[in-house]
Structure formats: structure tokens, C-alpha cells
Symmetry: C2
Subunit: 228 residues, 2 copies
DNA sequence: AGCGGGAATTGATGGCGATCAAGGCGCAAT
DNA sequence: ATTGCGCCTTGATCGCCATCAATTCCCGCT
């Protein structure tokens, strides 16, 4: 399989694994396996025992929770090159804290939990990488909690659009929604209707132009100012 | 100062430090110092450079963010024995991601960041403790994001009351609000008015009885069922 | 080209919780 | 005891956003 070579290269580039020696990476690969999935396929359910964490090779995955009434809040949208479910590594009883499901067909690597934990013991640099990763995740959570608690839906949507643009972007900038609008809405904790209406309102104010899944931000700075 | 002996004992008991040797703990104490604060005192501002993280010895501290309009969302209420701001440990440019302010007079330990990072290198067990701690924090964030996104204010308040009771509690159970109602409200992302009204509604339904800061839960199971 | 079905849009309505405002209560200081 | 000052409570109103409902759009399929 060609994929092994690709994988080895991908691992070497990835944050969490780049501090490992080639020998260590090979050991890890030996204890891992790749898996294909299709859109809509359930990868794991909240509460399932976790013996792996994951590296998404390509495609798109959503991590989400459901309310008792059935509405869905997407906690994270995973894109190629990202790892997820690492937080199960250090649980006493490792179980997935969210549901995981394919959004677009793809392939992922199931990284064996115990094998990785063993490597951590040998590589302080990798420990640091894991902790830095978790720190970044925690930062993101603070931000999300803040916007959910303090800001209205319009702010969240504008904030999200701006987040899609490169940090250095200025002036007229094109961004592409990374998934269907329903999915984005579930991510932003609004209904599809509200997302649609807000995008229309922003269009009417000539702040953006929406064409399918492509959004042209007329002026990044103007939009940033507009939030406050 | 008597406090040093107390501190040494407290460190030994604490999660993050218990895996250290006595010699390591002493080194850490040497690089740390205790500090008193009063209610309302600003401990640090969001964006300040972080050279320490903290262990609260006694008193109460709030970590919070402010919206542009000035409303406050309390991200965490810290109680005696808890550490906070550890997430600055692994930032490239360590800055506090939230404001920190005393809610009740107290004392805290400022643990030197570099000293602790040095110890981590020597103690894999302590690395594990840090990672487990962060994992628990992440879990809590998922839960908070979920309740903010999917649940109404009544649910959040009931959930919070139940969280104050011991996990094993059954039947009639007394709990005490850990701070003034304004503070609780800012923690739950509701206004004081809404908190007050909701507590009254729950009282009218004979689910709880409120006396000042003491809340008697008439029947824990009934209240749990009531949420769904 | 025509069909079918899910996604997206648009409109009408209602409810939850914020806001504004006023009054009551507890408590410390004089 | 009385004053003053926050905190908490209660009431009235308003606005945002969810909900329900009806098209329309988009795209794959035959």
C-alpha cells in the first residue's frame, strides 16, 4: 500500500509525532492502522471505550453532542492533518466524550493508545508537544465559551467568517465554508435559518457576498470593526 | 512563618506535586512565594505576561472575561486547594488568557513557571499528572460548551445545583452556594434576575427551598429527572 | 430533459431571557 | 436607632432567535 509511505511522511511532519525518532515512529505505525469511512458513518459513540486516538488523513469528521431533544452541537470539525480524541489518553477509564461521525468520505489513522503512552515515557519532547496541543485546545475552549456566553449569534457568525480568513488577511478576501451550511450552523450553535438570515443581512449591508459555499469578505478590517 | 510547613504538606497532597520527591518539592517551594489578596483585588489581567501559575491556599478567586459591553462571564471559580493558570505553562508567549480577581480574601502560592517546567523534565509521573489535569479540564469545557449551546437557563441552574451535591447524594440534600448570587449568575451566564426568578420557580414547585445562600434540594433524584 | 429529495431560503409567529425600573432586605458604620 | 449602600427580588416590557411552515434551489439519477 502506497499509503504507508505517505503516512510515515505525514507523521514526521505532525506536531505530536515529529519529536519521535524514526524507530519510534515505526513502532507506532506498526501498532496503528488506517481505516476508510464514508460520509455519515459513525466512527464512535460518546461513552464507547477508547483504545485509539486518531489522525485524519483526508476527508472531514465532526465531533458532536446531542441534546435530549435531539438537536446537535458540533464541538469540533476535523480536517485533514488534525488529530482528535487525544484527550482520552489520560483518562482512567478511557471513553470518548463525544460522538464522532464522517462528514465527507475519507481515511484516518487509528493510533494505538498504549503504544503512544509508552512512547511518551521515552520522549519528553513529545510530552511537551502533547501538553502544548492540549493548551491550545483549552485556549480554543475559553474562546468558544466566551462567545457562546457573551455574544449573540451575529457576532459568532462574523467571528467565524473572519476565522476562516488568514490571520494576515486585509481588504477584500475570499473564504470557503468548510462544510455544508447545516453543519456550520450546528457548529455555531444556531439554526440553519438564522445562519441563512444573518448571511443575507450581511450581504444586504455589502459586508460580504455569498455564492454557494464561497464567501467574499468585502473588507476584512471593516468586518472586524463591525463586530464591536 | 507557620505557613511554610502547611504549604509543604499541602503540596504533598496535591495532585500536581505529589509525584515529586521531597527534594524536588523543596526546590519548587524555594522558587515560589505566597501572596495575600483581598476581595476585589485584581490578581492579573488577560494578556499579562505569566511567570507563575497558582495554587489557592484559601479564599476564593474568579477567572473571567468581559464582553465589549462590559458584562462578565466567569470561566472558573477557584476554591482552596485548586491550581489555576497552568495552561500558561506551555504557551510560547505565556500570557494569562483571562482576568483573575479575588472574590473573598485569601492567600495563594505563586509557583514559578520555569522551576516547574524544569521539574517536569525530571518527573514523567508529574507530566502525567499535568496531562491528566488538563484532560479533566477539557472534559469540563466540553460539558460547559454543551450546556451553553444546547440547554436553557433553567437547565443550567438545576445542573449547577445538582453539581454542588455529592455525586452519591440521594433524597433530601442540603447544598450551599459557594459565592454571592451575582457571582453564581455570572458563572452560569445568566443575569441575577433570571437566577432569582428560576430559584423562585423551583421553590414554588417544591423542588428546592432557598434560605439565603443555603439551598435544600427536596429530592435529588426528582430534580435530576426534572431536567430531562 | 425530467424527476426526486435534501439543502437552503424566506416568511409569520411565539417564547425565553435580557433589560429597565422600583422596592425590600441585610448589614456595616456612624 | 438611623442612615446608606449593595445585593436580591419582583414586575413590565422588548428584542433576539427558535420554531413552524412554505417555497425555491441545487444536484444526482434515470
Amino acid at each position: 500500500m502506497q499509503i504507508d509511505g505517505v503516512l510515515a511522511r505525514e507523521l514526521r511532519r505532525h506536531y505530536l509525532f515529529c519529536a519521535l525518532s524514526d524507530e519510534q515512529r515505526e513502532r507506532l505505525l506498526a501498532a496503528s492502522r488506517t481505516r476508510r469511512f464514508v460520509a455519515g458513518e459513525v466512527l464512535f459513540r460518546r461513552g464507547d471505550a477508547a483504545r485509539h486516538f486518531f489522525l485524519l488523513h483526508n476527508g472531514c469528521v465532526k465531533l458532536y453532542r446531542l441534546s435530549p431533544e435531539g438537536s446537535e452541537k458540533i464541538m469540533r470539525l476535523i480536517r485533514a492533518g488534525q488529530t482528535f480524541a487525544e484527550s482520552t489518553l489520560f483518562m482512567e477509564v478511557p471513553t470518548f466524550p463525544v460522538h464522532g461521525e464522517g462528514v465527507e468520505d475519507g481515511e484516518l489513522v487509528e493510533v494505538d493508545r498504549d503504544a503512544f503512552l509508552g512512547l511518551l515515557r521515552e520522549s519528553f519532547a513529545t510530552c511537551q508537544a502533547v501538553m502544548a496541543q492540549m493548551t491550545a485546545r483549552i485556549q480554543g475552549h475559553w474562546d468558544e465559551i466566551e462567545t457562546l456566553a457573551l455574544q449573540n449569534s451575529r457576532y459568532r457568525i462574523v467571528h467565524y467568517l473572519l476565522g476562516l480568513a488568514p490571520a494576515t488577511a486585509q481588504g477584500r478576501t475570499a473564504v470557503t465554508l468548510p462544510a455544508r451550511k447545516m453543519v456550520i450552523a450546528a457548529h455555531l450553535a444556531v439554526t440553519p435559518e438564522t445562519l441563512s438570515r444573518t448571511l443575507r443581512a450581511l450581504s444586504d449591508e455589502h459586508l460580504i457576498e455569498v455564492t454557494g459555499e464561497d464567501v467574499m469578505i468585502a473588507d476584512v478590517e471593516a468586518l472586524r470593526r463591525h463586530m464591536h
